[in-house]
């Protein structure tokens, strides 16, 4: 059966695809897009085929340049363990490879002088990059060689192999404890016998001042005779660049702090102090000892997580599941485990000798009860798990993908922890799942389209959610089954695993954030101005909530965040005049009856359990303020969580997310959403740039083509102002100076004045000489009626006496076009339809008005008569936005939904006659997508219609990594800088 919803028809003809590809390749890079658009005109499937192939061009050069035989050989060469076999190294003849991994390769070799077999471990380059590491390795080796302990793998020497250090070690036959554990838990008596020997080994090493730092089942060998050998003593501490030496008498104080802040070790067995990037001492070994013993008894991992970050978080925050201990576990063993696994090392077991004594206590009753201890101790009964296998295991040291700043521990119990994860593009809006494990974020794809992505926190890669084009302001459902977001004027939801996005409720394109509460009610912003609304998660019951507490001088309630009760929420209440005093974060509830002021701020809030409020302060820092969730009263000092965080002054929004569990993600880049004005010709050839990259929008060319006005956001001053760039000498001059947000400049026909929107007062007009004050041209109507009203100038009438503006107003009324006579406060409604009208543009002869409207369900370009709107002619095909006229009135330009700049020839008669030709795509304009509701114009066109000035998106280079802070509410960070170590 044919599926009617199938979007594509027959696949495009393969030959035709190929022909167009070759023809496109024969052209210049710059002319290519336009050629493809023309060659595939009318056939979207064909065009997609061709474009998806041509997109690969950048990777094609090196691709398959190396023949398969060579590639296969390189792969073989990269597999470790092939380089030494058969070689003679001094007295050692290398026979076979025993194992390989991140910390080097281990070979079996024959000592031809002494006639014994040894293991040779070739260490990785890490050890030679820092000269003193070799020296320390030698020292460590000497100490260990002198230990000669029955439960510590012996070191025979240190050799140089092709410039790399190689340890010559005792070859221990047997299996590792890790291999044994794959078969399940150990019987109590076996586990305790092994633990007894481990404690013995640790005791001996600690007495000589050597800390293991990476004790784990893979480093513990079980010989066929039933003896334990601990391998790799001291290697981890050398690798970490620490100094594990010290006066043995003082060994409790000796630490192995890793100087570069990098965590090295195996996360599952790492002590909390190591997980936090701090120093290790002998108590860290006792933690690992406890983890190993608990794992032997339960047969399962003590701490688990899907990513290193989650695993480390578990080590820091979670208690072991004691219920998994076998019922027969003797009390001394339970006590020992609890004392070993104290997160605060000051409260941990002091010495390995204490551990040994506890086990001795425990072993006696076990022997009595089970009668098995004698058999184990004598080794008569050979347990089935003592099998031969790899003779040694590798020290696997993990360089966690992200440097960890060590944080001080005020109480000594909880750590907050910072690390950074790389991202492939510019991340703007983000949301953390309630448990802090998943991050949803908005990032542009290759074409600049904003898409929703989901990523386990700390994982190296993110998944893009298809069908989320243009997504903004994501938020999670309380059960984390959905990610909610805004797109195309709708509030939507999608499963984080993918699938079709569903509409929850219609809003407007300027909606500002939502939150999904535990009672399955979503509170959301319906538009940039006005109160917050509520809707049930199934889309029913949409109604205003905070309208009852919206004061006359407040313009916007936005950025709601629910508290855990699913009834109360915090939000930002804005007075857009900068001298408005009560802009800040408030506490309210679904009853709509309460509104408590918490703190003055110009930022979206974040919330973590226990009453921690996060926001961006005036200095651009991410800060935290504790408050009483009943009264809203703040308590204690404001604490800085991150020194820098991306901020959008036009939105009053900072680039961070907080989970209820206290995990924070912040984008430190203060240069989010940058663009640069760039000239293009009709073929899409880039002709040059104007000014410097900035966060800007709404370029407007002066009538003489000599200057361009644009609004620029200054994240530092948290303000938006209009600037004028002189194209002759590339000089920039600021036009507006108010603390108010001032945007969307439009030149008067004589070039002497600029109209712009001022957030607090409406449309203003100012002399372009810069002299004089901005005068109010089209005021917001009287304040009580105008909550949330905005007046955005679109175009001047030919005589310079009137302005066409886009009016956005409160209530259910849509954005419409109005005509103001300058100085007259009463507007004429020009055009009101069932949709939103924006971007009114008067034709050069003054008789026509082009505009964008979404009345048909998608944005399209129409023309009507002016100054009285009569008749309606559609100009665009397949959707369009941002119309502009050529100076002779013979063409209208617009952006199609794929942001292709498109030209339409139009003919206007003296009477009411209008006709237009077919739209002709010119080129894909790499515009920065709109962010603020003042973002109307992405480009302007010169009078002759030959050149375009485009607000081109600039991808930051390099892209700043995201900062992750686990347990942000726990203790104060002592470092505020982050570093990234690539994996």
């Amino acid at each position: 059966m044919r599926n009617d919803s199938e979007p594509r028809g027959e696949p495009p003809d393969a030959e035709r695809v190929e022909q167009i590809c070759h023809a496109a390749l024969a052209r210049d890079t710059i002319a290519r897009d336009a050629f493809v658009a023309e060659a595939c005109a009318g056939d979207e499937g064909l065009r997609y085929e061709v474009e998806s192939l041509l997109r690969q061009l950048s990777d094609a050069d090196g691709f398959l340049s190396d023949p398969a035989l060579s590639v296969a050989a390189k792969r073989l060469a990269d597999r470790p363990g092939h380089r030494l076999i058969g070689r003679q190294l001094g007295v050692y003849h290398v026979e076979s490879l025993l194992g390989a991994g991140g910390m080097g390769e281990v070979y079996r070799a024959r000592d031809t002088a002494l006639g014994r077999d040894v293991a040779i471990k070739v260490l990785p380059r890490l050890f030679v990059t820092e000269p003193n590491r070799i020296a320390r390795l030698k020292r460590e080796a000497r100490v260990l060689a002198s230990l000669s302990h029955p439960h510590i793998g012996a070191i025979y020497g240190l050799e140089d192999v092709d410039g790399l250090p190689a340890l010559v070690l005792e070859l221990v036959e047997g299996a590792t404890l890790a291999e044994r554990l794959k078969k399940g838990p150990l019987p109590m008596a076996d586990a305790l016998t092994i633990a007894r020997q481990l404690a013995d080994a640790l005791e001996a090493a600690h007495e000589r001042g050597v800390v293991h730092c990476d004790l784990k089942p893979a480093n513990i060998m079980l010989t066929p005779a039933g003896a334990v050998r601990v391998l790799d003593f001291g290697l981890a501490s050398v690798a970490a660049g620490s100094d594990a030496r010290g006066d043995p008498a003082q060994s409790a104080q000796m630490t192995t702090g890793s100087r570069d802040g990098t965590i090295r070790g195996t996360p599952a067995y790492m002590s909390p102090e190591q997980a936090a990037g701090g120093g290790a001492d002998r108590r860290s070994d006792l933690w690992a000892f406890g983890v190993v013993l608990l794992e032997m008894l339960t047969g399962r991992s003590v701490f688990a997580g899907d990513t290193p970050a989650q695993l480390l978080a578990a080590v820091l925050n979670h208690d072991p599941d004691w219920t998994k201990l076998p019922a027969v576990t003797p009390v001394p063993v339970r006590r020992l485990l609890q004392r070993c696994l104290q997160k605060d090392r000051k409260r941990r077991l002091e010495s390995a000798a204490d551990a040994r004594l506890e086990i001795d206590d425990a072993l006696t009753p076990v022997a009595d009860e089970a009668g098995a201890a004698g058999a184990v101790a004598s080794g008569r009964q050979r347990p089935a798990w003592r099998m031969a296998g790899l003779a040694t295991a590798l020290l696997a040291i993990v360089v966690v993908a992200g440097a960890v700043a060590v944080l001080n521990t005020r109480q000594g119990t909880l750590f907050s922890q910072h690390f950074a994860i790389p991202v492939s593009g510019e991340v703007s809006q983000m949301a953390l799942s309630s448990d802090g494990r998943f991050l949803a974020f908005v990032m542009p794809d290759d074409s600049g389209q904003h898409m929703l992505h989901v990523q386990p926190v700390g994982a190296p890669r993110a998944t893009v959610l298809t069908g989320t084009d243009g997504a903004r302001f994501p938020f999670w459902s309380p059960d984390n089954a959905y990610v909610g977001f805004f797109a195309g004027g709708k509030l939507m939801k999608v499963r984080p695993s993918g699938g079709a996005a569903q509409v929850i409720v219609d809003v407007t394109p300027s909606a500002r954030g939502a939150s999904w509460g535990s009672k399955n009610v979503i509170v959301y912003s319906q538009r940039a101005g006005g109160p917050l609304w509520r809707v049930n998660a199934d889309g029913t019951g949409a109604a205003a909530v905070t309208d009852t507490v919206l004061t006359p001088d407040e313009q916007s309630h936005r950025w709601p965040v629910f508290l855990p009760d699913g009834d109360h929420f915090v939000f930002w209440g804005g007075h857009f005049t900068k001298d408005g005093e009560r802009s800040g974060i408030y506490l309210s509830s679904l009853s709509g009856r309460e509104k408590a002021f918490i703190v003055a701020a110009w930022s979206n809030p974040g919330f973590a359990r226990g009453g921690s409020l996060f926001f961006v302060d005036e200095r651009g820092q991410l800060v935290m303020q504790a408050f009483d969730t009943n009264s809203g009263r703040p308590s204690g000092d404001v604490r800085v969580i991150a020194a820098a965080v991306g901020f959008q002054p036009a939105l009053y929004w900072g680039s961070f997310a907080v989970s209820a569990s206290g995990t924070v993600v912040a984008n430190p880049s203060t240069a989010l959403h940058q663009s640069v004005l760039t000239w293009y010709d009709r073929g899409g050839n880039e002709l040059g740039t104007v000014g410097r990259p900035a966060i800007m929008f709404n370029p407007s060319l002066s009538p003489d083509g000599q200057r361009v006005a644009v609004d620029i956001s200054d994240p530092k001053a948290a303000n938006v102002d209009v600037w004028v760039i002189d194209l002759k000498d590339n000089t920039t001059a600021r036009l507006t100076f108010d603390a108010d947000e001032e945007a969307t400049p439009v030149w008067s026909p004589d070039g002497g004045r600029i109209a712009y929107q001022s957030a607090s007062t409406g449309t203003k007009v100012k002399e372009t000489s810069g002299l004089g004050e901005g005068r109010i041209a089209a005021q917001r109507p009287s304040v009580s009626l105008s909550i949330g009203n905005n007046n955005f100038p679109n175009a001047w009438s030919r005589d310079g006496a009137s302005l066409v503006t886009t009016v956005e107003s409160v209530g259910r009324e849509n954005a419409h076009l109005a005509l103001f006579r300058i100085g007259d406060p009463r507007p004429t409604k020009l055009l009101v339809t069932s949709g939103h009208q924006t971007n009114g543009q008067i034709s050069p002869d003054g008789n026509w008005l082009a505009y964008a409207s979404d009345e048909s369900g998608e944005s399209a370009i129409y023309v009507t008569t002016f100054p009285r709107a009569a008749g309606k002619w559609q100009v665009s095909a397949g959707g369009g936005a941002e119309p502009r006229w050529s100076a002779d009135g013979s063409e209208i330009f617009y952006l199609d939904p794929e942001r292709t700049l498109t030209a339409v020839a139009v003919r206007t008669g003296t009477a009411v006659t209008f006709s237009s030709g077919p739209p002709r795509p010119l080129f894909r304009a790499p515009v920065r997508p709109p962010i603020s509701n003042t973002d109307f114009f992405s480009y302007d066109v010169t009078k002759d219609g030959r050149r375009f000035i485009v607000n081109r998106y600039v991808r930051p280079s390099p892209v700043a990594p995201l900062n992750i802070i686990l347990n942000a509410t726990a203790t104060e960070p002592s470092y505020s800088s982050f570093r990234l170590i690539a994996p």
Binding site: S52, F63, A68, L69, V71, A73
Partner: protein, 194 residues
Amino acid sequence: MKPADSPTALLLAWGRGEADAFDRLVPLVHEELRRLALHYMSRERPGHTLQATALVNEAYLRLIEIDQVRWQNRAHFFAMSARAMRRILVDSARAKGSEKRGGGIPRVALDDALLVGPMADPSLVALDDALLALEAFHPRKSQVVELRYFGGLSIEETSQALHISPDTVKRDWQFAKLWLLRELSGERPDAQRL
């Protein structure tokens, strides 16, 4: 090496339908692989790039001694040898891959995952799959890739083997690379329909 056991003789025998000739060819290819791999292990020393290219060419020449083949057989022989190389190299890559992954969900140990970087070349297995998909749409281009990439043939030799002009080989090669790259990136619009 006895002439009857030379790679070329085995390839010819395989071409005549002697199935076991292929099995005897496999270890010879592996031997060349190992020889090359040994060289690459010392590649950290500078100045070896040119030599490496020469070594690869030599390895191919040792496996595919075109001079030993009568003129009228050349095209067929080229095709056979490239097909054999593809099978052997992909099979051995596949064997190593499955050994590592154990068949189920690729769950990487945390210790390994963090130390492993992204792969520079596509995996031979993925490329083999992509090439199969390409064959469904553009059989000749799939052959061009097989001959050039797996068989190590020059543009001139490929054109001889397929009886098409060198320019056509170049165009096919370029288009096939774009197509395969797109396939490997998972962007092909109707890929899920196959």
